[in-house]
Structure formats: C-alpha cells, structure tokens
C-alpha cells in the first residue's frame, strides 16, 4: 500500500501552491459531482473553482501547519486529508487560521477531490 501520508503531503503541497499561484488551475482536481462547503455555503462541480476565483483578494499565501491522512474506507482507496494552517491575503499582516478537509478519490494513477470543507477558525 502506498504511504498515505506521502500522498496527502504531495496533494497538499500541490493544492496550496497552485491555489496561491493561479486558482483557475485547480479546476481539473474537481469533477462535476464534487462538493465544496466554503464557510457554510455549498458548491458543486464547476461552481467550486468559480467560487474560488471570485474570492475578493488578489494575493494569498497558505502556510500549512498540520496534515493528517486516513483511509476513509478501508476496502478501497479514498483518502481523508485534514489540514490546518494559516493564510495571509494581500497586504494583511495578521494571518488567519483555517482548516480544510478533503476526501480524495483515486482515478487511474491520480486522485480527484470528491469532498472539500473549508472554514476559517475564529474563536478568541
């Protein structure tokens, strides 16, 4: 069995470096039946990357702090990847905490995103 932590790590590196460089390039990771909950709002399929592209900042920098990976179904290949980190937008000096959970589903030699749940973490 492939090392799921290594798969999760390389997905996470790819995802956020692509996000920070050009959000439009995330489109191939999502299929028409993929789901995203973004701050409690639901999006599906092509609407997901459209939403990401419409976010009102010019520049963003994600800094990943933790990555956890687990098989979401022991009989098959889907992976649950949970990320916590910080992000900085535009000229902001204070990073915001975020958490994001993905379910990755294998397809051929690669994976696509079936589930994506994003939240900013406030609370103090």
């Amino acid at each position: 069995m492939a090392d799921i932590n290594a798969i999760a790590k390389s997905f996470v590196d790819f995802y956020y470096s692509t996000f920070d460089r050009n959000r439009a390039e995330l489109a191939p990771l999502y299929k028409e039946f993929s789901m995203m909950s973004f701050e409690g709002q639901q999006f599906r399929g092509a609407d997901i990357v459209e939403k990401l592209q419409s976010l009102p900042f010019q520049r963003v920098q994600h800094q990943v702090v933790t990555v956890d990976a687990q098989p979401s179904n022991p009989q098959a290949g889907p992976l649950l990847v949970t990320v916590t980190g910080r992000l900085l937008v535009d000229d902001e000096q204070n990073p915001q905490h975020f958490s994001q959970t993905f379910q990755l589903v294998p397809e051929g030699t690669s994976y696509f995103v079936f589930n994506d749940i994003f939240r900013l973490n406030y609370g103090f």
Partner: protein
C-alpha cells in the same frame, strides 16, 4: 446534487455533533458506544485504534468544556458514510484559556440498525 443524501447527512450531523460533545463533557464513559473495533482516532498526530482503546484514551483527559463554533457535513462517495467537520474551542480542567480545535469524523450506519451511526475515523487537532 443528491438532496436526499444531503438531508440525511445534515440530520445525522445535527444529532451527532451536540451529542458527541455533551457526552465528552458530561458522560465520557459512554463514548465507547460511538466507536467500533476498527475505528481509528488520530489525536494531534497520535493514532489509536478500536473503541476500547479510544475510550480509554479519552477517559485520561481532564474535565472538559467544548464550545462548537461551526460544523459542516457532506455525504461521502458511493456509500451512506458522512463526513462531519467541526471548529470550536475547548477548556480543560481549570485552565483559563480556551484552545481552538478542529475535528473531522467519518460516520457510518451500523449494519444492524439503519439510521444509527458509529464513528469510523476521528481526527483532532488544536489549531
């Protein structure tokens, strides 16, 4: 979107989320009932497997007070499994400071009783 599946998963999450944290804070010994033999907990990077071991590790925590700030749920692939993610804060014992946490669960229907879920995976991190 399969709205029926979404309804089922959001109803399950609406029931599960308050029940889990109220059990954790007030009836922690009962948590064992929510896990199965193959369940996996990853708590801040440390893995524990099986209902008995997970419940034992939770019993070692000091008195807790969880406050849920937001939760989300989605149906998972090709099954009736449900993904539930929670953001919140928690105070342990008489600590003054509340810690921010993020927790993700995969819930699965018990084969013997439909509509009744157990925890397949539980991933917890302080953020």
């Amino acid at each position: 979107m399969n709205t029926q599946l979404l309804d089922v998963s959001s109803r399950a999450a609406d029931t599960f989320v308050p029940a889990f944290y109220s059990m954790f804070d007030r009836q922690r010994h009962a948590l064992a009932n929510l896990y199965g033999e193959t369940s996996v907990l990853v708590w801040n990077g440390n893995t524990t497997q099986g209902a008995a071991a997970i419940a034992r590790s939770y019993l070692d925590f000091p008195i807790s007070d969880h406050e849920v700030l937001s939760y989300d749920c989605q149906p998972l692939t090709e099954s009736s499994d449900i993904l539930v993610t929670i953001s919140g804060n928690v105070r342990y014992g008489d600590e003054q400071r509340r810690k921010l946490f993020h927790q993700s669960f995969v819930l699965r229907q018990r084969p013997e009783s439909k509509g009744n879920y157990f925890i397949v995976t539980d991933t917890f991190r302080f953020v």
